[in-house]
């Protein structure tokens, strides 16, 4: 990332024990560790729930991408509750609807389709990171 581009915080849901929650976290790791490591910073939802000051400061300082495993949209809501700005919110279910063959199953370890779905999601979000970095508003955003 060039110095004039903004860092994007990525907040996946914590739907432990649900395949769609696992997809959200796997996609976040793929995005932050492999696809856009210099442009993104992963923030754990649990830290926002606990009111961790450092985590809250991070989401207030940078635009956020939230990844939610279900329609409760906990990640998106927690970012907004913490004073952050959601530049792009995405629900794993919506991505699955566009990729019907990639049915995620498994909890601790996703099946092959679930892993592919996580990669598809991560690639989609990488484009959103680039768009945010250029100062644009990607589709699906934004909520302050």
């Amino acid at each position: 990332m060039s110095d004039d581009r903004r860092e994007v915080v990525v907040v996946p849901c914590s739907g432990i024990g649900k395949p769609y929650g696992t997809v959200s976290r796997e996609a976040a790791y793929e995005l932050c560790d492999k696809l856009r490591p210099r442009d993104t910073r992963l923030v754990a939802l649990a830290k926002l729930v606990l009111g961790d000051q450092e985590a809250r400061q991070r989401v207030r300082a940078s635009p956020a991408i939230t990844i939610d495993g279900c329609k409760l949209m906990c990640a998106s809501k927690l970012v907004q509750h913490s004073g952050g700005t959601v530049a792009r919110e995405i629900a794993v279910l919506d991505v699955y609807r566009r990729n019907k063959g990639l049915k995620p199953e498994g909890l601790a370890e996703l099946n092959e389709q679930g892993q592919k779905l996580a990669r598809v999601l991560a690639e989609e979000l990488a484009e959103a990171v680039d768009e945010i970095g250029r100062g644009g508003t990607p589709p699906g955003g934004s909520h302050a």
Partner: protein
């Protein structure tokens, strides 16, 4: 606007509309034109959609399909389960809700309204109606199903 019977458990409130009939499998049936037997609209109950979770895909028998009560009618994939539900009445499918194709979440958002599944031209309405549950009877059944859910580990 229909009135509802309601049961609240924890953070969930389950509603049963009082202006229609129900199958024990969690489908509702209402006359398209009240007082005029012939065509009925069919949908999923509020309890059934909440218990099943967010809907990913819905497929309903296409228009022209002839059904007997109990035949396979709709298949749904949700974030929790794959559902196959039987037709609550017999007849011919004449219309399927087009919104289900692009926005299947309408089943979750508005199960008794815009989330309807299909319209069926009934073949034996009086006989089918006799097998359906009135709102009070379905509400009692739903309450027992809720209690069974609560007892699960």
């Amino acid at each position: 606007m229909p009135e509802y019977l309601e049961k609240t458990v924890d953070k969930f409130t389950f509603r049963v509309a009082t202006d229609r009939l129900y199958s024990s499998e969690g489908m509702w049936v209402s006359l398209v034109q009240p007082g005029a037997p012939g065509r009925v609209r069919i949908g999923l109950t509020d309890f059934m959609q909440q218990r099943s979770g967010d809907v990913a895909f819905v497929s309903v028998k296409v228009p022209g399909t002839r059904l007997s009560a109990g035949d396979d009618f709709t298949e749904m994939e949700t974030i929790k389960v794959n559902l196959s539900l039987p037709a609550p009445v017999g007849g011919t499918v004449v219309e399927v809700n087009e919104a289900l194709e692009l926005t299947p979440e309408v089943v979750n958002r508005d199960p008794y309204g815009n989330g309807w599944l299909a319209v069926v031209e009934t073949a034996r309405w009086e006989a089918d109606r006799a097998r359906l549950l009135d709102p009070g009877a379905y509400f009692s059944l739903m309450q027992s199903q809720v209690e069974q859910e609560l007892e699960k580990p």
